[in-house]
Amino acid sequence: MALFPSPFSSLLGLQQALDAFRTSAWLQASPSGSGSYPPINIFRKNDEFVLLAEVPGISKSDLDVQVKGRTIRVSGTKVVKYEDKSSLHRRERQSGRFDRSITLPIEIDPERVKAECHDGLLVLSLPQAEQDRPRSIKIG
């Protein structure tokens, strides 16, 4: 065990890190609207950004992801089905349409965006567009 373990070595560490960004101003200036479905977390990973969204019960075919410039649009339909002739005792899951756009403070390269969806989690890898990268300027 390391003397100074990585903050991510415990669940608590991850949760504390997430909590610290609950009030992040990262997307503040955009009309992304927190509270829209699906809930989104964005992480930075080396040179790219990773967007995670919780979409349980939504199959890949019901999800639509579009990227243009700085904006990502996630839309689709969530269907909650019950068997015929069933009586409902408890209903906490929600169903319906959703359509959400978020604008990132970076330019995305749409050609290299990767999308995955497994176990009800949508994962988008968003590499920064080449023209948006900072350039080192040699001081002459």
Partner: protein, 132 residues
């Protein structure tokens, strides 16, 4: 519910502690639907991010306990810049009545949704009484 309705985000509900967990971290209550048909009771729970192998279902006394763990090793090297939802394990318990056939309970996970089928015991099935 009609499908044309707009979806809204429900904040995750934290699990009220009945016993202390020995590992640090917050647990959440997965949203659940329960419905009954002629032959079985079905419990559906949403646990996004939980792998099939990370789900533990145990029946002890009359309580069916479900625990789903997320693999937070996947978050290694990721620095949060913007967050809207909390990540954590899921846990929920259901008290079963005697009318459930305990050996026949089955579970299925698809797209982060866990479906438990609890078949009714024979004596609890509806019966049609023939008039002599």
């Amino acid at each position: 519910m009609s499908e044309s309705q707009e979806l809204a985000v429900k904040e995750k509900q934290e699990l009220a502690k009945q016993e202390e967990k020995t590992i640090p971290g917050r647990y959440f209550l997965p949203p659940a639907d329960i419905y009954e048909t002629e032959h079985a009771l079905t419990v559906i729970m949403e646990m996004p991010g939980v792998d099939k192998n990370a789900i533990d279902i145990a029946l002890e006394d009359d309580v069916l306990r479900v625990e789903g763990k997320i693999d937070f090793a996947k978050y290694q090297g990721l620095d949060p810049v913007y967050t809207e939802y909390m990540v954590g394990h899921y846990a929920r318990g259901f008290t079963l009545s005697r009318k459930i056939d305990r050996d026949g309970i089955s579970a299925q996970l698809e797209d982060g949704v866990l479906t438990l089928t609890l078949p009714k015991a024979k004596e609890a099935m509806p019966r049609r009484i023939a008039i002599q």
